[in-house]
């Protein structure tokens, strides 16, 4: 109630038991009723005119409401629960009719229930028509309205207002009524928003809406109205690139064929439309990814800095460390390189990193362009990609264990052995490329934020942020390129190198084993077995010293081709929910059930994971599968849902998008105290999870 009633004489608003007082606007014979007031709501009847002018047949009124902090009132369609305000004019004189108008509502989400209404200040404009034009008007309005916070308090009171004959405008009241009359949704003829499609999906489970607008949409929401027996859940609203086309899907919670005449209201920042609608079948598919607001320059810079840092950290993550080690081994081996050659080699590696990152950015921009939703690490959902990665890493590991020397075609090999640098540079470049490719599944801390931001932004933002990421990842190479003498600080070659090689080989072997594990998840055990056998054949064939060169090449090529063919074409086994055994406390992921369960007072913990996500695995073994968190998740008070994104799954992608995430791990907790969810950091700590569970379980005042 602060500052909102400045026009009222001072000191009148003591919060007394239903205190009712007659108020006078400063210095004017204001056209307003007495005030009904309590902590939940303050209500007055106001009039734009001080009196009824001669021949005037109508008058503009308003029901001015001010809801207390934390209190809400309802729209004409309140949503699943609640009740719309009602006015009864019985006992008024010279009143022919009074039409209540409804400014565009806000959406409230409390306890998992969708409600539509108002908070803070609102004026409901009223168009009153007189029986006898020009004669005095005596208004008596019996108002019933419901206000809810965590308690629902109904109010039932009378307001009266007398307008004698006379001329004069109460400018303050007139301005208030006009302001809110402007917020009443326009009819289709007066709006530049055009609703083009309203369709029910095949199972009557959702309403699909499409609309276009000449001016770009800002903060947009949709409110279908089908009478009191049809209720809806939270809409999924998407805009196209220039924000002039809207696609929305609104889940249906309760449906009946005997619904009222349907209408649809679309609200945008400062405009709204209400239109009657006709339902069609054959709903259009979602055409573009979810809407995201534009970002400021400062934000881009900040996120780029985060991406740079994230890229740097990636170097010490288990997926990338082996590659960096390959690079260092090559330096250890290479004696007698000139300073310039070392410098160039490392520059080429850095270029390799950046090339991959840019290629990735280009691919992402292209996919964004054609409207495919993409995620970070998603390439690890592709069996061919995983197969190739596995083979490369396994062969590298075998090489480090001394199974064979990687021999490039003779012509190249000569140059490599000699001081010719070109082939060396190619392998340097390849090293960088490999490092970047392998980095992707290790969504390091900070990185998720940056990638998410980039994927949601414009093409230019994608390029900027990925470049920053690439520079971070390439920093070690760039540093050595800048000061090649650092290489000379490395100890002289000797027996210790063997140890280093074995250590690095072990690291690579571990990476290969993990990739094989991912492959089992992505393509099934059979494919993984075939690929690993072919890789073994490859390594053996490569190790045989005196084999015919052509035969060897044929075998090696066949192995690679067969492996790719196997991964790509052997049918994948269906990884159904069989993965969720009865003894596990993890349940299947049901995004649509979350709101309902929260409204029932349950706490829901969602873990989005995938076999190719190392950080997810770490979270699982270090936090989620250990006490105290495990005990909490199993204790019966929490529903633990696991969403497996090892393979592309549209439901999960959409769920992530809703929370502005494009990479995993993603963990979020819902509960009566946090109906909109508490997103957890990518690297979990037991304390963070327990705190979020506690916060979600304690019901504080409903937040919007």
């Amino acid at each position: 109630m602060k500052g909102a009633v400045s026009q009222i004489g001072a000191g009148l608003l003591s919060i007394m038991l239903g205190c009712v007082s007659i108020l006078a606007a400063a210095g004017a014979d204001a056209a307003e009723s007495e005030t009904f007031s309590n902590p939940a709501v303050t209500a007055r009847l106001i009039s734009a005119e001080d009196g009824i002018a001669p021949d005037a047949a109508s008058v503009s009124l308003g029901l001015a409401l001010e809801y207390g902090e934390g209190w809400k009132g309802y729209w004409r369609t309140p949503g699943e629960v609640g009740l719309a305000p009602k006015l009864d004019w019985a006992g008024s004189t010279n009143l022919k009719s009074a039409e209540l108008l409804w400014p565009a509502p806000e959406r409230f989400e409390a306890f998992g229930i969708e409600n539509f209404g108002y908070s803070g200040r609102v004026v409901l404009p009223i168009r009153a028509r007189l029986e006898d034009a020009g004669h005095p008007l005596e208004l008596r309005a019996r108002v019933s309205l419901l206000t809810c916070s965590t308690v629902c308090v109904p109010h039932d009171f009378e307001l009266s207002l007398a307008l004698p004959q006379g001329i004069g405008i109460d400018t303050d009241s007139a301005r208030q009524i006009a302001t809110y009359a402007d917020r009443v949704p326009a009819v289709p003829e007066n709006s530049d928003i055009r609703i083009s499609v309203t369709a029910l999906d095949s199972r009557d489970s959702a309403l699909i809406v499409m609309a276009t607008s000449d001016t770009p949409f800002g903060k947009v929401d949709v409110f279908p109205e089908f009478g009191p027996l049809v209720t809806f859940g939270k809409p999924d609203i998407r805009l196209d690139r220039d924000r002039t086309e809207l696609w929305a899907q609104i889940p249906i919670n309760a449906w009946t064929e005997e619904h009222a005449e349907p209408s649809l209201t679309i609200t945008d920042t400062a405009r709204a439309i209400t239109a009657p609608i006709t339902l069609t079948s054959d709903p259009p598919a979602p055409p573009f990814s979810s809407a995201n607001p534009r970002a400021s320059v400062l934000k881009v810079v900040a996120v780029a800095a985060i991406a740079f840092l994230g890229g740097l950290i990636l170097n010490v993550m288990p997926c990338v460390l082996p590659v960096l080690s390959i690079k260092l081994t090559s330096v250890l081996k290479a004696t007698g390189q000139t300073r310039q050659m070392t410098r160039n080699g490392f520059l080429f590696s850095a270029l390799g990193v950046l090339t991959f990152v840019w290629a990735l950015a280009a691919a992402l921009v292209f996919l964004q362009w054609i409207g495919v939703s993409v995620g970070w690490g998603i390439q690890f959902q592709n069996p061919v990609f995983v197969t190739l990665m596995f083979m490369v890493i396994a062969v590298f590991a075998a090489n480090l264990f001394g199974a064979f020397e990687i021999t490039l075609p003779a012509a190249l090999q000569d140059r490599l052995g000699a001081s010719s640098a070109r082939a060396g540079y190619i392998s340097d470049f390849g090293t960088g490329l490999l490092a970047a490719i392998l980095a992707t599944p290790c969504s390091a801390p900070f990185l998720g934020t940056a990638i998410t931001f980039a994927l949601a932004g414009t093409s230019l933002e994608v390029v900027k942020i990925f470049t920053a990421l690439g520079l971070g990842l390439a920093l070690p190479y760039i540093v050595i390129a800048a000061r090649p003498e650092l290489v000379t600080r490395l100890p002289r070659p000797g027996r210790w190198m063997l140890l280093v090689r074995i250590l690095l080989g072990g690291l690579l072997l571990a990476t290969a084993a993990w990739l094989l594990f991912v492959l089992i998840g992505v393509a099934g055990g059979r494919v993984a077995a075939i690929v690993s056998s072919l890789t073994a054949v490859f390594i053996v064939a490569a190790s045989i010293q005196r084999a015919n060169r052509w035969a060897r090449r044929a075998v090696l090529s066949a192995c690679v081709l067969l492996a790719i063919f196997g991964a790509g074409f052997i049918s994948m086994p269906n990884r159904t929910t069989a993965a969720f055994d009865a003894t596990s406390h993890w349940q299947n992921f049901e995004p649509l059930g979350i709101a309902r369960r929260v409204s029932e007072g349950e706490i829901v913990f969602v873990d989005v994971t995938a076999d190719w996500c190392l950080t997810c695995k770490a979270n699982k073994s270090l936090v989620l599968d250990r006490d105290p968190v495990r005990a909490r998740l199993r204790g019966g008070s929490v529903i633990a849902m696991q969403a497996d994104w090892t393979r592309p799954d549209d439901n999960i992608t959409r769920f992530l998008e809703r929370y502005d995430r494009y990479g995993i791990p993603f963990n979020i907790v819902f509960g009566p105290g946090a109906p909109s969810g508490i997103a957890l950091p990518e690297i979990l700590t037991p304390q963070a999870v327990i705190d979020a569970l506690d916060t979600a379980s304690v019901r504080s005042l409903a937040r919007e």
Binding site: L17, E69, E80, G82, L146, V151, C152, V698
Partner: protein
Amino acid sequence: MPSLLPEKLELEALDRPKGFRRFIAGETSGSFDAFVGLDSPDSVDVAARKAAAIERVSADICGALYGDLDMSNARIPLASFSDYYCPFCRVQTKSFADMTSKMPDQVAIAWHELPLLGDSSNLAAKAALAAKRQGAYVAFQERLMTSPFQATPEYLARLSEDLGVDGEQLVADMESPEVARELENSAALAQVFAFVGTPALVIGRTVVQGQVSDRMIRKIIDLEREEGWDLACVSA
């Protein structure tokens, strides 16, 4: 956003009804007119029935609040007042239901319907009470969690099937004088205790209006056990 969860157990004796006291819970208690409901002005007949109900419950407050709860084993009685169309009521009903299943020897709950919100509320309240007679009160509340209540025969038949109750019995009970009387008693209790809205709650002899944490509810239960909650009933 001010939290409505005061963590201090502050109590204030009530003049009426005697022997009861109010838990001081932030801004939701006091400052409001006593609960009136959203009815049209009463007819003479209705007013008389209401007056009779107030007299009836005032004569035996504890009986009206807790009815025939089994109070053996030193259980503490808890009366929950809710409206099917109030968002937080659903949450509270569920959490009390959980509480009784977790501590069956410590609390017993009497469910009261206090329909504030017009016809749908009234009908849903009748159905809830009819379901309660067949032991399906909480199931009814859960079943209607995201769907509006409808009073059509087809709907009620389907609902009964879902709840596993006898449909004909449910429809008959909805219109029975017992259910009507139960609603009148709950409304009269709300008047007597000056509730301002739903959900509302009486634990033993402590009145709670508005949201409190489960921890605080347990504290009050412990306090009632220590002090003897039936003091109020003896003095009534």
